[in-house]
């Protein structure tokens, strides 16, 4: 009672008390503001800077209070720099504590791009918790560093040198058939296409047995460890029925009889040896891998692994395939080798002996019943086999799997997490790729065999598929270099398709990257050399293990190709006949030789004198004068990159005089007999 009288005894006391209470209440707001988290960080930053020798300039650049980066056209408001005060202070590179580390060097200005564009998180937040982590109202946490390249992919649709994981992920999406079931539109609206080559199954019965199909469906990677075909985790009865249907729907592909009968019986040892050397000479290993005795895969990945091919294909099919693969599959990347019957027989003997009795094992199917075939057809429809393979009577499904165009922005609230998967988008996507069926046994997504790095790449590529990437102004996107569908014309074009030139060589933006770009080949080479090379490709680059195979072309075919290449594949930048090598003097050549071995040390990578030079990277130059044109060499020495983008030849930027002298020296290298033509 005393206290009450003391505080509210008369009106003056009551007024005084209430005033004090009101004042105290009003003081809460400035006090709360004073104790804000970011003020604490700014005070710590000032203390951190104070003791340094460059304190004056650091303090001058430090701006207290809330900082903000506003990028209206991207809808970005970043307040990260409020606490991350030292992002641009390179002199603080030794500081290890956050939030005071300077930003590592990147090709973008922090002011123009802000922070959340790359790192995600809540840019507008002013507390550590809300800015970095998922809270109830905000659920876009910071993107873990391992997936940061995803952010580059929002604008950069092209291959960037600095984003290997993103590039690999996008390649995997195209290579493993992801884009055949899922619609994945790149931010510019162009749907990603598959770059794999899933075979048509319309004539599968001609190629292989039902038992092999069964073993393959059970575990494709047991047949070929790098096979991109996923495991559909099918029950044995389902495998029985699917294989029954696939054989039942298969139609013959040859209208007439085969041109030659398949050789019967196992080849003798001599024929085996000859077959093996023919396999080597034909450079089959440039595209196809086989396991060696140690179990390591040796060879290219453009075509399927052949370690167990003898357990797979029927001899009659193999004979026709080796004779001309285009009859079975007109779009195959396999070249038409023009082998004669004897050599076809040798290869059949060699490949036919590459068997693995464990793979098909004792698997045996009784003749299929109608009910099994019908069930097989139902399963093939359900599993979406036709999304990749052509199958008689089955339409390619559309909208088979969920669209992934904006999967990188999928709200967590719309995701069903399973126990053991952390509640973040990257973890969800990773888990879904690693073990799709852990999200439910009824899911259609099959089990892929992927290395951890491949999964990281896929997660990165998918995280780049954000809503922001789709809706940002088109001017901010850096477009991808889309593959062209340039066709070579006329008879030569038909020959090039037949020999599969584009499987390895790129011309005018179309084709593979295993072999040199031939866009300006007509300017580069001399016609007699080209004709000779087409008929008998010899070793130009000793360090390469992928080689141009011998296609056994006729003189007419070689001439047709050479005519076309010489007429069409010419650079518009200079005249190929501009430099007449007959006018080079021996003094030019001597000077060129000095420059070659001295100033430019070309022998580090190239061989001119096989007895002395050891360079092993670039093409051998012993006969370069017969191979290349003087004008091409001259311009190559100035700027090779402009003639063949991506070449590893340094840009020498040689002066006219030097370039002319080195050209003179190289053009003189014509008649040196090759010592190592048989070198493999």
């Amino acid at each position: 009672m005393k206290l009450r009288r003391f505080l509210f005894g008369d009106s003056a006391r009551a007024f005084g008390t209430l005033s004090i209470v009101l004042l105290a209440l009003l003081a809460v707001v400035p006090a709360k503001d004073y104790f804000r988290e970011w003020r604490g960080y700014q005070k710590r930053y000032v203390r951190l800077v104070r003791g340094r020798s460059d304190a004056t300039s650091l303090t001058r650049r430090f701006q207290p209070g809330l900082q903000q980066v506003w990028l209206p056209e991207l809808g970005v408001v970043d307040r990260c720099t409020t606490c991350h005060s030292a992002l641009k202070e390179a002199s603080l590179a030794g500081v290890k504590t956050q939030p005071f580390r300077p930003h590592p060097p990147i090709p973008h200005s922090l002011t123009e791009f802000g922070c959340v564009l790359c790192h995600r998180g809540q840019g507008g937040a002013t507390t550590v918790e809300e800015a970095h982590h998922s809270t109830e109202s905000w659920e876009d946490p910071i993107l873990p560093a391992r997936y940061l390249e995803a952010s580059c992919g929002q604008c950069h649709l092209e291959r960037l040198t600095g984003t290997p994981l993103l590039n690999q992920g996008r390649e995997t999406l195209a290579q493993y058939g992801c884009a055949r079931c899922h619609v994945i539109k790149m931010p510019d609206g162009v749907a990603m296409a598959g770059t794999d080559d899933p075979p048509s199954l319309e004539h599968i019965g001609e190629k292989t047995s039902r038992e092999w199909i069964g073993a393959w469906l059970k575990n494709p990677q047991a047949y070929a460890s790098l096979a991109t075909m996923p495991n559909f985790q099918l029950a044995d009865e389902d495998i029985r029925d699917i294989s029954a249907f696939l054989i039942a729907q298969s139609t013959p592909y040859l209208t007439g009889a085969t041109s030659e009968p398949a050789p019967a019986g196992a080849p003798d040892e001599a024929a085996q040896q000859q077959g093996a050397s023919l396999y080597g000479e034909s450079f089959c290993a440039s595209c196809h891998a086989t396991q060696n005795a140690a179990g390591t895969l040796v060879g290219g990945t453009l075509g399927p692994e052949l370690t167990r091919v003898g357990s797979k294909v029927k001899t009659a099919w193999l004979a026709e395939w080796l004779r001309n693969p285009k009859t079975y599959d007109p779009d195959t990347r396999m070249p038409h080798y023009r082998l004669d019957a004897k050599r076809t027989g040798l290869l059949i003997g060699f490949l036919g002996s590459k068997t693995d009795s464990d793979f098909v094992g004792t698997r045996h199917f009784d003749p299929a019943t109608q009910a099994q075939i019908e069930n097989g057809q139902k399963l093939v429809n359900e599993r979406g086999c036709a999304a990749c393979h052509e199958i008689n009577g089955i339409k390619r499904p559309s909208d088979f799997a969920p669209e992934l165009t904006v999967v990188g922005s999928r709200p967590l609230a719309k995701i069903l997490f399973v126990p053991g998967v952390p509640r973040t988008l990257p973890d969800y996507i990773g888990a879904k790729i690693r073990q799709p069926r852990s999200f439910g046994n009824a899911l259609k997504m099959p089990q892929y065999t992927l290395a951890p790095q491949q999964v990281d790449g896929l997660v990165t590529a998918l995280l780049a598929q954000t809503e922001r990437a789709r809706t940002m102004p088109a001017a901010l996107r850096i477009p991808a270099r889309r593959p062209s569908n340039y066709p070579a014309a006329g008879q030569a074009g038909q020959l090039m398709a037949d020999m599969g030139c584009f499987s390895c060589h790129r011309i005018n933006g179309r084709g593979g990257d295993m072999a040199p770009d031939l866009t300006w080949e007509g300017t580069a080479v001399a016609r007699p050399w080209l004709v000779n090379f087409l008929k008998n490709p010899n070793t130009l680059r000793p360090a390469l293990i992928r080689r141009m195979p011998k296609f056994n072309v006729t003189d007419t075919e070689a001439n047709t190709l050479a005519d076309y290449i010489m007429a069409v594949y010419q650079t518009p930048d200079f005249d190929r006949d501009a430099i007449d090598s007959a006018r080079f003097t021996s003094a030019d050549m001597e000077h060129g030789k000095e420059l070659f071995y001295g100033k430019y040390a070309c022998q580090s990578c190239h061989i001119v004198d096989p007895d002395k030079d050891k360079g092993y990277i670039g093409p051998t130059l012993t006969q370069v004068g017969a191979r290349l044109n003087a004008a091409w060499i001259f311009h190559w020495l100035k700027n090779a990159e402009s003639l063949r983008p991506g070449t590893i030849e340094p840009v020498w930027n040689m002066g006219d005089e030097d370039a002319r002298a080195v050209t003179a020296f190289l053009m003189a290298q014509k008649n040196v007999p090759r010592k190592e033509t048989a070198k493999k």
Binding site: F35, E37, L48, V49, G51, R52, L92, A93, G94, V95, K96, T97, F100, R101, P104, P105, I106, P107, T127, E129, P144, A145, R146, Y147, L148, E149, T161, G162, P164, L165, V298, P452, Q453, D456, A543, I545, G598, K599, Y600, A601, S604, C605, K614, G615, Y616, I617, N639, E641, I648, P650, V651, W652, N653
Partner: protein
């Protein structure tokens, strides 16, 4: 969540943590073997992107005092920063080895991870393993190295890439060769890459790349060379202000 620190929280937290039970994690594996030493088998000095899982797993082996492998001994992995292990502890197999996958932290630099085991008396034995995390700049340098430099500067050949190192008269320095490359300043590395050996009175076998690579790319290569240096590169004149 705790947004601001208040002094009264100290006793409250102390009591709370004393009363709380240990969080239910995976049960600690019970060792049946005890070793006196833990040695590295493979997986050291790997280079990976920040935060990424290293390509090869790290394998260590527990040995007894005589150097024989010990099976079912407990191995623990620890590392500074946000280094992650999968799994971070476990028992050695019948060959005495334990394998883990390592994910590097989110900051570029050299990481030291520690694998440890205890003998039957509880005495701790450990091995320190170094790994390298690359940031964007160093990663770009690594990619450029793969295209332009590695054929001469890496003496090791792989089935896909024959080394040209032994064909050169002046032997190119491996980028890991910190003893030679660390004393060179950034400026002289950049000059060497841009202008080539001949311009700097060194071997002309090193070509100039100033017209092939951009300034940004050459800086990236320099950063990569610094990142993989062994012994580690420590720039002069930079002091750590964090302490």
């Amino acid at each position: 969540m705790i947004r601001t620190w208040r002094p009264w929280m100290i006793p409250v937290l102390a009591i709370a943590s004393a009363c709380a039970r240990r969080p239910a994690g995976p049960p600690e594996p019970q060792p049946k073997g005890f070793g006196a030493a833990v040695v590295l088998v493979s997986g050291e000095k790997q280079v990976g992107g920040v935060g990424a899982q290293l390509e090869q797993p790290v394998v260590v082996q527990v040995n007894d005092a005589k150097g024989a492998a010990v099976a079912a001994a407990l191995v623990r992995f620890t590392g500074a920063g946000s280094v992650g292990f999968q799994p971070d502890r476990g028992l050695t197999g019948s060959d005495g080895q334990f394998t883990t996958n390592v994910s590097l932290g989110s900051v570029a630099g050299q990481y030291q991870i520690v694998a440890s085991t205890t003998d039957s008396s509880g005495k701790r034995a450990e091995v320190r393993i170094e790994e390298i995390a690359l940031g964007y700049q160093e990663l770009l340098g690594q990619q450029l190295n793969q295209v332009h430099c590695i054929r001469c500067h890496d003496p090791e050949s792989t089935p896909e890439r024959v080394s040209n190192h032994d064909n050169l008269t002046a032997k190119a320095h491996a980028f890991t060769d910190g003893a030679v490359l660390n004393p060179m300043s950034d400026a002289s590395l950049v000059a060497m890459i841009s202008h080539g050996g001949a311009a700097l009175n060194k071997s002309a076998e090193m070509p100039p790349y100033g017209n092939r690579l951009t300034k940004v790319e050459i800086d990236a290569l320099t950063a990569f060379i610094r990142a993989v240096a062994d012994p580690p590169y420590r720039p002069q004149g930079v002091f750590d202000a964090s302490n």
